[in-house]
């Protein structure tokens, strides 16, 4: 009985617990509640994924209303996969969080923080699971609003401003998306994703459809932080509390990418987006320019959080490269890079949180020589960094290799060459930090620092170990991504 209700429990559970966190009042209680619930949510996603693997996609009608009249939840390979890693990262980051939260967020606001965290998780999972276009918007707003709130909770004076900038751009993005939804609804008279896909005219159709697609694409591009509409991201990541950055950086943009994949491959079909419209060449160009511009900016940052933020913008470019190739292999590369990058960036931001706690600074100059005093944290940085560079035996290599072979096979020579060259820029910005950690005598803060507490190191190493494990064992990362891509293209054609 309960098993058949899992799809809705996935959403209801964190949604209902969030207000409870505030109402119960106790800080520790709120934390324990949030941790338990996020662990449960991870368990549910695991169970859902297992069922999808066993017996195919799950359709769940909310309240028993038949789609397209009622709202439908759909768990298929793609949404199951994304929900799985989003909930996993959420649970691990929460396990890691308490020490940094104590440091970075005023005590009176802890309950609010945990409530927002759960709401954000709800929103992200909801975007994945729902089969209703308007619902996507609603969940998008839930996750966005709660992230603005979480960012502004930080003690730093700049955090509220960063949150406000994010709010403004985020709202612009969401509004664009909403306008697109309105136009689609006007043309098709339905909000159910499957139904829209069936009703949209195959051969172009009226201009309204094009406009709707354009609005939605641009709205999502802002949310994904695609170059050149990425400007909200560096400040938001830099000034947010460490745990928030780790969580949002690993999940939030990826879920927007997920919606974008749905939009292009499921609803509008690649023929529409890539053949009728030149979206593929446009995205490829933007992605490549973005990769180079953002990676170069990353090299010149003195704030490590900002460095990683720019790197995130670059990495979104790699996902877009894969998605806009239009082949199954390319799509697989794009999807698996969502997962791989979530692990890498989540892990690295967790490492940054360890330094922030022990050194009270995320300025690179204060990290000098910390390799001696914080050996485990520093090794975690090096290992995670290797993943970001894309060295074999890490997840980064899996994405890079898949992307490269696809580019070569489809004779996108320029893409192949530029992609490889750009990955060398990652070597520069990662190694700048490695050299600062290891090739200086510890001075100032670093000399007095102690190794980060186990309560943070253990979750960090779980994520870092995952970047290595899924670098050699890809049955459930690239394998699942491949099945998701096959399902998307099978349905599209």
């Amino acid at each position: 009985m309960i098993a058949s209700q899992l799809p809705v429990l996935l959403i209801v559970l964190p949604l209902m617990t969030a207000p409870l966190c505030v109402l119960l009042g106790g800080r520790r209680l709120a934390y324990l509640l949030a941790l338990t619930v996020s662990a449960c949510v991870f368990g549910i996603s695991l169970a859902l994924m297992a069922r999808v693997l066993q017996s195919g996609p799950i359709h769940y009608d909310i309240g028993g209303w038949q789609p397209p009249y009622g709202i439908e939840y759909v768990v298929d390979y793609l949404s199951g996969f994304v929900m799985l890693f989003v909930s996993a990262i959420a649970a691990i980051v929460l396990a890691y969080a308490p020490r940094t939260v104590e440091l970075e967020i005023p005590g009176s606001k802890h309950t609010l923080f945990y409530a927002s965290y759960l709401l954000c998780l709800t929103g992200l999972l909801g975007m994945c699971i729902t089969g209703d276009l308007f619902n996507v918007f609603v969940f998008l707003e839930i996750s966005s609003l709660s992230s603005y709130a979480m960012i502004s909770l930080a003690r730093t004076r700049r955090a509220p401003l960063a949150a406000l900038r994010y709010l403004i751009l985020g709202t612009v993005g969401a509004t664009f998306f909403l306008i697109g939804i309105g136009l689609v609804y006007q043309m098709t008279g339905t909000l159910n994703l499957d139904d829209i896909a069936h009703r949209l005219p195959r051969e172009g159709g009226p201009r309204t459809i094009l406009v709707a697609f354009a609005f939605m694409t641009i709205g999502l591009c802002i949310k994904m932080a695609v170059f050149p509409v990425h400007s909200w991201l560096p400040n938001a990541y830099t000034y947010a509390p460490s745990a928030v950055t780790a969580f949002i950086a690993a999940t939030s943009t990826k879920v927007s990418v997920y919606i974008f994949i749905r939009l292009v491959y499921d609803i509008f079909t690649p023929e529409f987006a890539f053949d009728l419209l030149p979206l593929d060449s446009e995205l490829t160009t933007l992605a490549l320019v973005g990769i180079f511009v953002a990676s170069t900016s990353a090299i010149y940052q003195s704030d490590v959080k900002r460095l990683l933020a720019y790197s995130s913008i670059a990495q979104i470019g790699y996902m877009l490269l894969g998605i806009s190739m239009g082949t199954q292999e390319g799509l697989t590369a794009g999807i698996v890079h969502m997962f791989n990058h979530a692990l890498i960036k989540g892990g690295l931001f967790m490492v940054v949180g360890c330094y922030a706690l022990q050194l009270r600074s995320v300025q690179l100059e204060d990290w000098r020589g910390a390799g001696r005093t914080m050996p485990w944290t520093s090794m975690a940085w090096a290992l995670g960094g290797l993943g970001l560079i894309g060295v074999p035996v890490t997840v980064g290599f899996v994405s890079k290799w898949l992307l490269l072979t696809t580019a070569v096979q489809t004779e996108h020579w320029a893409v192949a060459v530029l992609m490889l060259v750009s990955s060398l820029l990652a070597v520069v910005y990662i190694w700048r930090v490695v050299e600062t950690l290891y090739f200086h005598e510890p001075s100032g803060r670093a000399a007095r620092a102690k190794e980060a507490p186990l309560s943070m190191l253990v979750p960090t190493y779980v994520v870092i170990a995952a970047t290595l494990l899924f670098g050699v064992w890809t049955t459930y990362s690239a394998g699942l991504a491949g099945r998701a891509a096959a399902a998307l293209l099978g349905a599209g054609s």
Binding site: P392, W401, L402, T405, F439, T474, G479
Partner: protein
């Protein structure tokens, strides 16, 4: 008797066992290093056992599984790889013994890290030697680059940082931008990455999928992309790596790392292109010129160096050129000569490095000009130096005589008489920059009296270098056997 197929994973796994033991007993040096010696001895025994099967015509194989969908990690042992594995694993025992003497008398720090990285590097060398396809080879190659970086930068000072920068910068950027591209390109043309006798590109070439010019470009991507082969102008990393402690320079930068480079070049020439294809199309002709230039220039630069390790490094650059030349000449004799030179040069050059380290341990002298008259105080070291130098030069009774002979035969077969001249001139240069060192040590009176009590380095340093010096002579008499075991790799498809 153990099944040869099982011996593959045993031998590849043993360095990882060593890694685990080293870290387990990190607190007690004697136990830690005892374990290393024990495991390396077992490894050598296992490799010998495997060799009896491979040299008798067996081709044991072991497929681990797919690392990235469609690309598997697989091993298949052929004579060339077997020879390389024998050399690497055999010299690991001696180097460990030597390292114990060297590291302890220098009171070096971080010794557990040192031995750990060493074990990983050997693991990578074994994996590369036994690799069954280009994908596996590439992965092993990259693992080796990363695992040797902490060894190169072991001292953790500014000099080490700068050396490490050049090391990682050149090796990573060539491998990512060129080697990886070449592997992907090969895969898209040939449809496979498996090493096969006679090569895998012939069919594609005959079908017109790749033109002669493109074959030349592809060969260039491989030859320069495999930066570890130190072909000029990508040789700068090798002198830069000399900031490492001497045992590292000895095993890694005379044997394992550089030999993985030239070994990969030979593998590509023989099992990807196929020497018949190279000979027919003459696409490797330009590589002969580059290799010839590297041989000559390397020797010339070596003459100008007063620092002994720097001189040996440039000598290595030059000698690696011989092996690349052997692959580029693409006749059976030249390929066998190149393969043979992997072993000959390894044993000779490691002896020279051992000597350089022993001199440094005993006298703290790095420069050749300061080594006059030391011979009488350190007779074993300098006699060993002289014997090894004779082998490197290519004079009987050193093993190098035979490999250089076969290479010279290869140049004559190609009617490239001026290359024959280059080989001779280079040998003369070798005499000029190597032999004066032991001669002055024995014959010229010391400028200043050596400090009283100066004597040989600890026996742990001296014994290994005597063994390897004797080894160069043994190899002279074993050359016919090496010729016979290598003969099968030159067979046509």
């Amino acid at each position: 008797m153990i099944d040869p197929d099982n011996l593959i994973w045993i031998t590849i796994g043993l360095p990882l066992v060593a890694l685990a033991l080293i870290n387990l007993f990190g607190r007690s040096p004697n136990l830690r290093e005892g374990c290393t010696i024990l495991v390396s001895s077992v490894l050598f025994a296992g490799t010998c056992l495997l060799a009896t099967d491979v040299f008798a015509g067996g081709r044991p194989q072991w497929t681990v599984g797919e690392m990235v969908p469609g690309f598997s990690i697989a091993f298949r042992v052929e004579p060339l790889g077997m020879l390389f594995a024998l050399v690497a694993s055999g010299l690991w025992i001696l180097t460990t013994l030597y390292a114990i003497g060297y590291m302890r008398s220098h009171n070096e720090g971080h010794q557990t890290r040192f031995y750990s990285c060493f074990a990983v590097a050997i693991f990578a060398a074994m994996s590369a030697a036994f690799s069954a396809n280009l994908f596996t080879l590439f992965v092993a190659y990259e693992v080796m680059t990363i695992s040797t970086y902490p060894l190169v930068t072991h001292h953790g000072n500014r000099e080490a940082r700068d050396g490490g920068r050049v090391y990682l910068g050149i090796l990573l950027s060539t491998s990512v931008a060129l080697f990886m591209m070449a592997v992907a390109w090969t895969w898209s043309i040939a449809g496979t990455l498996d090493f096969q006798t006679g090569g895998i590109l012939r069919t594609a070439f005959e079908r017109g999928q790749i033109s002669e010019t493109q074959l030349g470009v592809l060969l260039g991507l491989f030859a320069f992309g495999i930066g570890k082969a130190a072909l000029m102008p990508f040789h700068r990393w090798l002198p830069a790596a000399m900031v490492a402690p001497t045992p590292v320079s000895a095993l890694l930068h005379a044997v394992a790392v550089v030999k993985v480079g030239v070994f990969s070049v030979m593998k590509v020439a023989v099992f990807v292109f196929g020497i018949d294809l190279l000979a027919e199309t003459e696409v490797s002709r330009w590589l002969c010129y580059v290799a010839g230039a590297t041989i000559l220039l390397g020797s010339l630069v070596a003459m100008t160096k007063d620092n002994l390790k720097a001189r040996l490094a440039y000598s290595t650059v030059s000698q690696l050129g011989y092996i690349t030349l052997g692959a580029a000449l693409a006749t059976p004799d030249s390929v066998i000569g190149g393969g043979m030179h992997i072993a000959m040069h390894a044993v000779g050059k490691i002896t020279l490095f051992f000597c350089a380290g022993a001199i440094y341990v005993a006298t703290h002298k790095k420069n050749i000009s300061e080594m006059r008259g030391l011979g009488r105080a350190m007779p074993f070291t300098f006699i060993a130096f002289a014997i090894a130098a004779i082998s490197i030069i290519g004079l009987p009774p050193g093993g190098g005589a035979w490999s250089k002979w076969f290479l010279a035969v290869g140049t004559v077969e190609n009617h490239l008489y001026w290359l024959t001249a280059v080989l001779m001139i280079s040998s003369l240069l070798n005499i000029a920059y190597l032999l004066p060192i032991p001669m002055r040590a024995f014959l010229s009176p010391a400028d200043t009296k050596p400090p009283a009590g100066l004597r040989e380095a600890p026996w742990m340093c001296v014994v290994p270098l005597c063994i390897t010096a004797v080894g160069t002579v043994v190899l002279f008499f074993a050359s016919e056997w090496i010729y016979k075991v290598l003969l099968p790799i030159t067979a046509g498809s």
